[in-house]
């Protein structure tokens, strides 16, 4: 999978449970990563499962918070508070790891 060419548009959906300090922190983390690595070619949609629990089924959400990369395909799921930036980038396919490494 080639790393970001800067041409792809990223459609991202962040699932959280309620507007808590925690979910705000996750959103902040996400925005920071997107600003740094996606150069504006992205759109973030936040889904609060406490408001719309029925939406958990469609994207197969079981852990929170979960970030779903809907575009570009294929769909990728990243769970956790996004504090580990390296893993987020791997998850979003923005950076491939050196061969053999697995943090």
């Amino acid at each position: 999978m080639p790393s970001s060419s800067g041409e792809d548009f990223y459609q991202l959906r962040l699932y959280v449970a309620g507007q808590t300090a925690r979910s705000q922190a996750v959103l902040r983390n996400l925005k920071a990563i997107c600003e740094r690595h996606l150069q504006g070619k992205y759109r973030i949609e936040v889904v609060d499962l406490l408001v719309n629990p029925q939406l958990a089924r469609g994207d197969q959400i079981f852990a929170l918070p979960t970030l779903v990369r809907q575009l570009p395909p294929p769909v990728k799921k990243i769970i956790g508070d996004l504090s580990n930036v390296e893993r987020v980038l791997v998850g979003l396919d923005l950076r491939t790891l050196p061969r053999g490494a697995r943090p």
Partner: protein
């Protein structure tokens, strides 16, 4: 004529506080657990792949919704919604219909390792939210989590996972939900991931054993906090109506004993049986070497019962129904009208086709459906090849027990190997049965004639004589024992002696 049905009484000791149980509706399991699974608590079902744990879980939920008015949520981590529907249809329920009626909700949770990247702290609130939503949407009382091990396969952070599972089970308990969790059996541990540390109220272990090339499923209630339970391993099968467990009936030997007598179908044979025939609800064994007439004796009983309008079930293991009917016509018995009227049902299979448990299970099922007054098993000897003598005897004990507890008169035929038959009936069940009729071939003066005797018959004064009996186009005739100066006579020797005696009598002017 009304059938006399006897019900055995179950004595339970008085309990101070009873644990509330959720009935499973699964044949035999409610007996095993004395009422069902613990209500409002989680039950762990462990076993290797293919042992039936998903089926057990599904059946508990489906029956809960369809039979007991308890809606449920099925959370499947491995099977999709379509696969679940097919699975459920295989034991006779329409999952889509139950969902449409709002009695069940299906949640397929996909946890694919390669799709997931763990990037920091998280919890399983997504699952909680889905579950809560599903539970609320149908007012669920039961939940199935099949199989929670998938979470372990998909997620690497064990600390989070274990903490969340603990939280999940506490939460489910707080909602008063009766939950079944399935887990993969580990090497030396109950489950691979140690689920038993979270779920310890009730644990059921399933496994598949291979015996004499036949696979037998076994179930064991390993633990049931707060309740007595059958603790042995019990065989079970999965039929088109779901799981069927066959515990040795917990009634022990508390069968009621009927004093009613039913005719064997032959007045002379009845005479040998204390003058009236068999006790209703008793078990009869008819043994003898090949061709001695055991089947004929069995069929005479069937004929007499059907004449009275009683239903009979005939398990034939050596003859096809057509063969049986034809052979009986040759001795003047036409069973076909009874078959047509639905009074006689003939079930014919080769024992070697299935294992012992399958046989027992399908017999129980057939008997349940048909509700006969008389059951014939002809012959039982074919089962000997299917298992160890312990297993065969165990199966026969359960069969005889089951029939007795339902007040069904059972007649079993047994093929004896050798010519001298007294001590060895080949299956070792002579102590289980009430009446033992022996048919044998007697060789006298160059002829082989048939003789019948009653070796034992509990509760009645039975004849100790060997009487000659013949089978011909006009039926089975049991002739009074004829003693000549040299002893018991049969066949042409008897005829000769009878003629000689008549002549002597006439000469003496007696008669």
């Amino acid at each position: 004529m009304a059938k006399a049905r006897t019900q055995a009484q179950v004595k339970t000791p008085p309990k101070i506080k009873t644990l509330s149980k959720a009935p499973t509706g699964i044949a035999g399991l409610d007996e095993l657990t004395r009422g069902g699974l613990p209500r409002g608590r989680p039950t762990l079902v462990s076993g290797r792949a293919g042992c039936g744990k998903s089926v057990l879980g599904l059946e508990f939920l489906v029956r809960g919704a369809a039979q007991f008015g308890e809606p449920g949520v099925i959370v499947s981590f491995e099977e999709t919604v379509e696969e679940l529907a097919t699975n459920v249809a295989s034991f006779g329920f329409d999952l889509d219909d139950l969902v449409a009626q709002g009695k069940l909700v299906l949640e397929f949770v996909s946890v694919e390792r390669h799709e997931i990247e763990e990037t920091g702290e998280y919890n399983l609130d997504g699952l909680f939210v889905r579950l809560a939503h599903a539970i609320e949407s149908v007012g669920a009382k039961r939940v199935l989590l099949d199989t929670i091990e998938s979470l372990f396969a998909g997620l690497t952070n064990l600390a989070i996972l274990r903490a969340e599972l603990r939280r999940l089970f506490r939460w489910l308990k707080s909602k008063g939900l009766t939950v079944i969790i399935t887990g993969e059996q580990g090497e030396g541990t109950l489950t691979r991931q140690g689920l038993e540390e979270y779920v310890s109220d009730c644990v059921i272990a399933l496994n598949v054993q291979l015996n004499h090339h036949v696979a037998t499923r076994m179930m064991r209630v390993v633990k049931y906090r707060g309740s007595g339970h059958g603790s042995d391993e019990y065989p079970f099968i999965i039929t088109e109506k779901g799981i069927l467990v066959m515990p040795i009936t917990s009634l022990g030997l508390a069968h009621a004993a009927s004093t009613e007598r039913i005719s064997s179908g032959n007045p002379a044979l009845d005479e040998m049986l204390g003058g009236e025939g068999y006790f209703r609800g008793s078990s009869v064994l008819v043994s003898g070497t090949s061709g001695t007439g055991k089947t004929s004796i069995a069929v005479y009983l069937v004929d007499a019962a059907c004449r009275r309008g009683e239903r009979c079930m005939y398990f034939a293991f050596e003859e096809s129904p057509a063969q049986l009917l034809r052979n009986m016509r040759s001795i003047g018995l036409d069973l076909e009208p009874y078959v047509k009227k639905g009074l006689l049902r003939i079930e014919a299979t080769r024992p070697s086709l299935f294992g012992l448990e399958m046989h027992l299970a399908s017999s129980f099922r057939a008997i349940e459906e048909f509700d006969p007054a008389v059951v014939v098993v002809d012959p039982i000897t074919d089962f000997v090849a299917l298992g160890s003598s312990y297993e065969v005897r165990s199966m026969m004990t359960r069969l005889v027990d089951h029939l007795k507890s339902r007040g069904i008169t059972a007649l079993m035929t047994s093929l004896s190997a050798g010519r001298s038959v007294h001590s060895d009936d080949d299956v070792g069940i002579s102590s289980l049965i009430d009446t033992w009729v022996l048919v044998q071939l007697i060789e006298v003066a160059g002829e082989r004639n048939r003789g019948v005797s009653v070796l034992k018959s509990r509760g009645m004064a039975h004849s100790n004589q060997i009487r000659e009996f013949t089978l011909g186009p006009d039926g089975m005739k049991v002739i009074a024992a004829y003693r000549g100066p040299q002893g018991f006579l049969s066949g042409s020797a008897r005829q000769a002696q009878q003629d000689a005696d008549e002549v002597a009598g006439a000469k003496r002017g007696a008669r």
